[in-house]
Amino acid sequence: MSEHLIPLLSSPYVKRLGVRFDDHGDELTGILPYDDTLVGNPLIPALHGGAIGAFMEITASAALMAASRLAALPKPIDVAVDYLRPGRPSDVFARAMITRQGSRVANVRVDAWQERRQALIATLHGHFLIKPDDAS
């Protein structure tokens, strides 16, 4: 696990959701382990859209922190989430792609899936405010 991610993974809310990352070189996969408290609608049953959105925001932050040394956690400026399929009661995975990283603002896209990578359950794209660590 990259030490760059420690400030993110020590966030109480990130810990509470149970988000962790699988780190293979410069490829980072976010994992949201299934928990009953993630369910939004028990009748279907489907995961809460807000939990999936939050997980994708966290994955975007992790990708930015893994890509370069930052002095602070990235802050979302705006995000758009498309919900493609209901989230089933099982683990969710996500991978982020940094479309463009400027000196202050980064544009990031995130895909989230469950059983099959080809069957995305949601996508996110957004802008994040970043503060590069000039000291390093």
């Binding site: 809310y13 509470r16 939004g40 028990p42 995961l47 809460h48 859209g49 959105g53 802050k75 989430v81």
Partner: protein, 175 residues
């Protein structure tokens, strides 16, 4: 007619949070519901902090609150007669919420009929003129079977608190 819709929404109100385990886990509360709008609150809580150094709530909490409030407003806009599936949710984060303050989401269904519902919402921490975030959401309208609705009611209805009795403390959360 609108009194009938309001009465119907009031009768369903306890289910709109208690029926969603994630909303319960985050300590969300329904503050008010009307035929085209919903107001919800998320409490400031230590376990929902995003950055321990600043004590600011995680943006994901605001995301989940706005998502839920928009869904409830769309449901209310349909008179509580149909379900919704979120197509997309777009959020602008204006500023961090003040540490120590609850976040309130006010959502309004701009149009809810036919196949789609469109909702606008703001989140603030006390002053609606100084929002923390704003949201725009689009929903697909789905039919809820009478049977499913009755099952939900039977499952949680009896133990749920009437909306008029809901206090502003973050009870019912955790575990």
């Amino acid at each position: 007619m609108s009194e009938d819709i309001q009465a119907h929404l009031d009768s369903l109100a306890p289910l709109l949070v208690a029926g969603s385990p994630h909303a319960v886990a985050l300590g969300m509360e329904l503050v008010s519901i009307a035929p085209d709008r919903a107001v919800m609150r998320a409490p400031y809580r230590d376990d929902l902090i995003g950055d321990s150094e600043t004590g600011i709530l995680h943006g994901g909490v605001v995301t989940a609150l706005l998502d839920h409030a928009c869904g409830v407003a769309a449901f209310a806009g349909l008179g509580g007669q149909a379900g919704t599936a979120t197509l997309d949710l777009r959020l602008d984060y204006m500023r961090p919420a003040e540490p120590g303050r609850d976040v309130i989401a006010e959502a309004r269904a701009i149009k809810a009929s036919g196949l789609f519902a469109f909702v606008n919402a703001i989140a603030h921490d006390g002053d609606p003129d100084d929002p923390v975030a704003t949201a725009t959401a689009a929903f697909m309208i789905t039919r809820v079977s009478q049977e499913a609705a009755e099952r939900a009611k039977a499952k949680i209805g009896e133990s749920a608190t009437p909306i008029s009795d809901i206090s502003i403390t973050g009870s019912g959360a955790g575990s």
